[in-house]
Symmetry: C2
Amino acid sequence: MPHEIKLVTETELRRSVHLDLEVINYIENAFAKLATEKVVMPPVLSMALPDENAEVDVKTAYVPGLDGFAIKVSPGFFNNPSIGLPSLNGLMILFSAKTGLVQAVFLDNGYLTDIRTAAAGAVAARHLAPDKVTTAGILGTGVQARLQMIAAAKVRSVKNVLIWGRDSDKAERLAAEMTTVLGVDVKAVADRHELVARSQLVVTTTPAKKFLLDADCLHPGLHITAMGSDQENKNELSPDLLACADVLVCDRISQCEKMGELRTALETGRLESTAGIRELGEVIAGHAPGRSSEDQITVCDLTGTGVQDTAIATFTLGKVAKAQAGTTITA
Amino acid sequence: MPHEIKLVTETELRRSVHLDLEVINYIENAFAKLATEKVVMPPVLSMALPDENAEVDVKTAYVPGLDGFAIKVSPGFFNNPSIGLPSLNGLMILFSAKTGLVQAVFLDNGYLTDIRTAAAGAVAARHLAPDKVTTAGILGTGVQARLQMIAAAKVRSVKNVLIWGRDSDKAERLAAEMTTVLGVDVKAVADRHELVARSQLVVTTTPAKKFLLDADCLHPGLHITAMGSDQENKNELSPDLLACADVLVCDRISQCEKMGELRTALETGRLESTAGIRELGEVIAGHAPGRSSEDQITVCDLTGTGVQDTAIATFTLGKVAKAQAGTTITA
């Protein structure tokens, strides 16, 4: 039976959806449902294509109370830059949670993933960072480095930002750019340990395969969100660092065990089990304590969940409908 | 980077793609690659939504030599008929196998799945049914019952067809309709065991949860293709029947163990292991024997594979481009 489907391009999506408090609150609410509602979130479908230096991930989740559920496809083809194309692409499809009919196709080339990932960073910072964050530090110089700075500034009164990148020129350029965007002082630093020492909130956004930060950089009142690792071969924080945290929070423990920072901490035996680890949704819902003093050291391991995809897709349909953006087709 | 994407509706797809020898050969070739090439086919992503009486499956496969790979999403919402909507819907997305960029969105509502499923039935009959099939028998009265009759007639000189359905009126109506479509005598029969006794080729296309055929209906020179079971709770053929077959072939053993006829045969211990079971691709490629005499009893267990989805999507893009069908958008 033919029905209406909304088709929206990346350009149109960039006009309709921005990283603001509205989307952060929406993602936060969806995370809370992970702890309070019968969310159905299957394991990530992951297809590695070593011959193409590529990997394709599919995420989804059914979230009670949301009208739709998303299927998000994220192809990563890492030879693309050599032919002038971005490595990451993909799209989201939104289905009715009542009938399974396709409601919308968001040809976002990963834009909505960027937004929902950054929003999760803001949610983690809101619930886990100390109340007073004067300095935020960012490891990495890519899209998420930019967005996580903006996200941090949405939930804390950040006075200045430090950036560290493997490529110091990139870090310098990004610092100059973000000084303008954020309207606060943003500086590149050559030593990532110095960055952590001077920051109350650190977000790691790199594709590192060997940890960049060890336990010796920890100091009282520090929160670290690690959002770079989303695959089985990535790692930004050392097992010791995770073991030394007062509070360790995962977006989804079952995912972080496989593709997050938690993986190496468990594999090396530095963490014996997941006992005591909390999920972000539990902290938001008040079912588990988050930070309980300004001096604690907190760490949040984000791998990216289907719940965020379903949330951002549902949110986006509302925004797009309101803005009368996109093309409506009958199929 | 904006690029061109082909968007094609169900109506346009029905005009461009038909169940003919060309598509049957294309699907056959893709199956052969499962045995001869480094096909990457992850397990099906399955999301059960008991509160909605629904299930969502996602299938994919990377097939070397094909330009693209498909992600196929099949939502089944089984309360839909009560509000006048079909239970099964969904779409296929075709991605470039070189860059991961979206090439096409096929809003097929399950049509391409119907075609690739029927084509697999034709491929199984071609390689496993006796050369001489005078009578083909079909269990079921749905879309696949229709298509499997057409598929059988494409690869064997079928002189007449028998249909059995739980609803005998439906079976009568389908018989009348298909007599016209096929141009051979099609009759409904009340007794499914009589149907099997009179047929050389039987295709089961039902959503049965308790087997419909037992070993006592087997006779020399019979081939049965069971394509109804594609979930963990479905079953059309008894464990004894599978154990008594001279040749047992699966589309993919690892899938049939979980969601095919093979599941109950293994669970009940009637089959002790998968030793001796062949895959359809191996038979096509000549790596494993299929039927070796007209008297053998052969059984093929089809659950539907991501390889077929990638094949039909790639095939369809060629057809659609040639017919200049669909809408080209830049996104």
